[in-house]
Every structure is written in structure tokens, then in C-alpha cells.
Amino acid sequence: MSEMRVLGAAVVGPAEGEAAKARATAFKRETRQRYLDSSVEAGLEALHAAMHGDADPGLAQAAAAGRIGLLLATALGPQASRGDYLRSYGQRGEKSASATLFTNCGYNIAGAMLARSQNIRGPVLTFGADDGWDRKLLDVARRLLVAARAEIVYAGRIEPGAAAIVGLALGRGDITVSWRLSSGENRAAGHEYRIETGDEPDGEARRPAGAEDMVRRIAALRCRPRVAAPILST
């Protein structure tokens, strides 16, 4: 129980903008959504790539049964919807208050949309992306898996125009995230994570990952050809 394997991962940024828009358009058509915040577009594409990159036929079944979870961290959330909602009021007064824009001001609406796109019925949670967000996200993912609240957890970060998502399950894989409890007096500091890959040069197979940009680094390892420029710098 001390390791998680990486099942799939994707980073989507401006370079994947066209693909993200096409997927968002299809999603809107299927679900009859009139509106999507721009932060959702990259997320839809990233989750699709992360889930189908693994080509596991059991994923859809697991999602419908509530055995898949989705964890997203965000700092700015639905910035475009919030801006439009407030600007519209500022310019035209209270009668212009839009129910659609207001609804999409919710920080968790992006996660809800992503969950709906893949029929994920398990835990879908959105977190504030403060310092150490990646370590905290991995902590929550690990606890959901260990507590058997989900068999697979997709975890990542979503910001306007960019998203990075990795799929995790307990056990070892080509890329493995391992952890150990911080030792000694500093027990309260939590867990130290390491990323292990099979394709690193000798002597570098185990890379201490610290707490910085963990999810982005995992995603970058898993899908090197697709890695966009640093996109999660907000």
C-alpha cells in the first residue's frame, strides 16, 4: 500500500487549444450546455486524454459505479465567467444578472463538467491551489484509494486555458509514485513523495520529487511528446 501507479496523464495548454475547443463543442452539443467557462475546455481535453491514454475497457464501468474519483486544484477558477458576470452588472445593472454566468462562477463547476464528460460518479472535489497544492492533492488521492472510496483517482490542476491531469491507482507501474512518512520529530510535515520511472539513466531511476509541481512533473514524464510549455505558472 505504499505505492501508486500512474495510469495515464495529460497536459493541455495553448498548443492544444484547437483540440480542446473541438472537444468542448462536442460536449456542449451532447449535454445541451449553452455555455462553458474557458477553464473547462482544457480540462475536458486533459481528462479525456488521461483516461483514454490508458485504454482500459473497465474505466467506463468503474466510472458509472462510482469507483473513479476526480480531484482538481485551482487558484483562479472560472475567471472568465466571474469577470463577465460582474462586468455585465457593472455596465447594465441588476436586470442583467445572468443565471448562467452566475452558476458558472462556482469553483467546482469545472470539475462537475469534467465528471459529466466521463460519467465519473465517485468523489469529485475541487481544492484551492495554494502552496504545496500538488503534495496535498496526492495526499487526498492516496487517502481516497487507501480508504477504498475509489479504485482510480484522476488528479490535477485546472486554470483558465490550461490543465494537467494524472490517473492514479494503488500498486506499481511503469511510472510509480511512492511515499514515506516524514520521519522523526517532523512527523507533522506529512509524506515525502518520489517518482520512479523505468526509463531514467542508471543512477537516476529514483528522483526525489519534493512537493513542487508534482502533478505537472508526473504528467510530463507520462506524455513527454505532448508537453506544452510551462502552463501552470499561475
Binding site: 487558484a75 477558477g77 475567471q79 460582474l86 460518479r121 481544492f127 495554494d130 487517502r143 507533522a188
Partner: protein, 395 residues
């Protein structure tokens, strides 16, 4: 208390009914309402002038001044958190003592005020000095700065506080935390209420959950926190948190699954997590918003989980008394659930007569109802985006 339960050792809240947990409980049992005309922002264009608004007492104002707290969310949140810690015999210094593994999990729906003066051309109301920062990092940092412990901010609309407690439960069970303080905080402002007015979730009447005459909800504001500790280390001063369940509707942004599948999944998951069967449940604190769609969905969820027994489990909604406090709703209701277990008494659902309940439920109406036994109770929280959370509390 099941072996895997964690102990609830402290409670604290700020609500439209009272600015502390004992006051909230006394008012709920006395069937008092905290719904009142809004005074802290202009009412033009709103569907209703009523809400579960907090009019800060002189003591709370003095607290805000002394602590130099400049946003409503923080005034409510810090006051509630300080109360919960003191109630459990902790303080901020003890939380960060060497060898103590402690954390804080804060739920919120829309975070700080939606009123951005540069965008809407309006001055902020009192305690909104730095409130228009929508960056969630600022919210997390503000709590972490004050309490100096690892802080997680979770935002799942009106299920936020229930999810905060669920996360805290796993931190203690799976990761050896000694104490996790969990709950939620939200404030009401003009832009949030205009949005709810546009959505037409607000009633122009009063909230009447599960009544044939129901026509919507009234929102509110506030904060609440629970102190959770590992059971072996602490006697259950109030109750045990024995289980938690999550689910997602994947149905609609604002409307719940009309068949209640998501709500049922959350309740089943919570009971399974607690190792209990539905027959063990003596009381349900409902999400109970009073909107036509929410209530029918929750009734169908209850019917799926409890079968014919759904009509015999005493249940209640405290939202007509405190308003729908969004990200804080789940913890205010958790506090009511915990104290119902302690006192074996269920507070009433206000504004509803027994003969007008639309569904076969044992909705407690009129006045509070003493019960011979409440050993196990559920608290439901269902939010926009189809976010569902259920908590199981035990004696």
C-alpha cells in the same frame, strides 16, 4: 461508537440564529427563525429582501476589530473556529506543538465576496475590505497564517463542509493525524444574491421544505467547525463521526438528479463506510432546501436507501431556521445532528405543517421532538454541480 469512528470533541459556529453552537441549538429547539431582512447590502433587483443574514453582535464586531479581520467570511470563520478549538480544549498554539499532527480543512462555496468594486462600480459593505480576491490561494493562506497548520480549502458548492469533514475523517483514519478541524464558511453579498435571484431558486415566501406549498429556498451565511480527534486519544465528548460518503450526479449544473440516484449513492457509501445498515439510522438531517426539484430528489434518494422505512425515520431540515448557508450549510447541519444525538431530540422543520408534507416522510414539524433513542444519524448535503456528501454520526 464504531471502532473506526473518530471523536467529535469541539463545536463552533456563527449563524443567523446565534453566534455560537449552544445558542444555535437552543434556538433550533425553540423553533426560532434567523430569517430576517437583509441590511448589509442594497436590495434592488433581488427576488426577496429576506435571508439567513447575520447581523454581527457587538461582541462579534469587537472580535473583528481586535483581530483586524476585514471580511465577513473571515469574521464568521475565525470566530467559529476559535469557539470550536476552545470547546475541545485546544488553541492555535497547541495545534502546532511539536509532535502534534494537526490540520485544518475549510469548505467554501463561492469563497470571498463576489462584489469586485472595480467591476460593479459599487462600494463594498462592512467587513469587505479585502473580500473581492477570488484567488483561492488567498483564502487558504489567510487560515494557514492565523492557525499555522496545514490547511486545505475544498470547494464543492453546498456540499463543501460535508466534504471537508469527510476529508478530515480520512486524514485521521489513514494518515495518523491527531486532530483535524473541519467545517465551512461563506458570506452573503449582493452579487451572490442577485445570481440566486436570477436562477429563481429563491422563494418570495418562506422556505417550506417538503411541503406541497414549497416554492424555493432562502440563502444565508455563516461558518461552523468541528474538532475531530482520534478516538483512542479522546473520549467522544459529543459523538463519533463514523462514516462519510461522496457521490456525483453527472446530471445538470444546478438541478439535482430527479431520481435521487446521486443522493442515494452518497448515503449508501457513508453507511458502508461506517459499517452500518440503513436499519441502524434513527434520524436524518436533510439537505431540505425547499426547492421543488431538490426535495423530490432527496425524497426519492431516501426511499431508495430506506425503502418503506423512509416514512418512519424522523427527519428534519434546519434551513428554514438558518437559511441555506451554502459552503457552511453542511457543518451547521452536522452540529444540529450531533446535538440531536447528544440530547435525543430532533429540532423541527419550520414553516411546514404536518398535514401539508407532500411525501411519506416523518418530517418533524411544529416543535422539537424527543426520541427514546438516537444512536445513529445521517446528515445530507447536496450541492450545485451534482456534488453530494453524507456524514454518519453515532453516539
Amino acid at each position: 461508537m464504531p471502532a473506526d469512528a473518530v471523536a467529535v470533541t469541539g463545536l463552533g459556529c456563527t449563524s443567523a440564529l446565534a453566534e455560537n453552537a449552544p445558542g444555535l441549538w437552543t434556538a433550533l429547539l425553540a423553533a426560532r427563525s434567523g430569517i430576517k431582512p437583509i441590511e448589509h447590502f442594497p436590495l434592488d433587483g433581488l427576488r426577496t429582501p429576506l435571508a439567513g443574514a447575520i447581523r454581527p453582535s457587538p461582541e462579534l464586531r469587537s472580535f473583528a476589530e481586535r483581530e483586524r479581520v476585514t471580511s465577513r467570511l473571515h469574521v464568521f470563520g475565525f470566530a467559529a473556529l476559535d469557539e470550536a478549538l476552545a470547546d475541545a480544549g485546544w488553541d492555535a498554539a497547541a495545534l502546532r506543538a511539536p509532535g502534534t499532527k494537526a490540520a485544518l480543512v475549510v469548505g467554501t462555496s463561492l469563497g470571498m465576496s463576489l462584489v469586485a468594486p472595480e467591476a460593479v462600480g459599487e462600494r463594498l459593505t462592512e467587513y469587505d475590505g479585502d473580500a473581492s480576491n477570488p484567488d483561492l490561494r488567498a483564502l487558504a493562506a489567510s487560515f494557514e497564517r492565523r492557525y499555522s497548520v496545514e490547511t486545505i480549502v475544498v470547494t464543492t458548492a453546498c456540499a463543501s463542509a460535508a466534504h471537508a469533514a469527510a476529508l478530515a475523517l480520512d486524514m485521521i483514519r489513514c494518515d495518523g493525524y491527531d486532530v483535524v478541524v473541519c467545517g465551512g464558511a461563506d458570506s452573503l453579498d449582493r452579487m451572490k444574491y442577485l445570481g440566486h435571484s436570477a436562477l429563481q431558486t429563491l422563494t418570495e415566501d418562506l422556505p417550506r421544505p417538503f411541503s406541497r406549498a414549497r416554492s424555493g429556498t432562502l440563502f444565508g451565511e455563516g461558518a461552523g467547525f468541528l474538532v475531530l480527534e482520534r478516538a483512542p486519544r479522546a473520549p467522544a465528548r459529543y459523538a463519533g463521526l463514523a462514516g462519510a460518503g461522496y457521490s456525483t450526479d453527472v446530471y445538470h449544473v444546478t438541478a439535482p438528479d430527479p431520481e435521487g440516484e446521486g443522493g442515494a449513492m452518497a448515503m449508501r457509501a457513508a453507511l458502508a463506510d461506517a459499517g452500518l445498515e440503513p436499519e441502524a439510522v434513527d434520524h436524518v438531517n436533510l439537505h431540505g432546501t425547499g426547492t421543488p426539484l431538490n426535495d423530490v430528489s432527496e425524497f426519492k434518494a431516501l426511499a431508495q436507501v430506506f425503502g418503506a422505512r423512509a416514512s418512519r425515520v424522523p427527519c428534519t431540515s434546519v434551513k428554514p431556521a438558518v437559511g441555506h448557508a451554502m459552503g457552511a450549510a453542511g457543518v451547521l447541519e452536522a452540529i444540529a445532528t450531533i446535538l440531536a444525538i447528544r440530547d435525543r431530540t430532533v429540532p423541527p422543520t419550520l414553516n411546514v405543517r404536518a398535514d401539508e408534507v407532500e411525501y411519506p416522510l416523518d418530517l418533524v414539524t411544529g416543535g422539537s421532538r424527543p426520541l427514546g433513542r438516537i444512536d445513529c444519524a445521517l446528515s445530507n448535503s447536496f450541492g450545485f454541480g451534482g456534488a453530494n456528501g453524507t456524514l454518519v454520526f453515532t453516539r
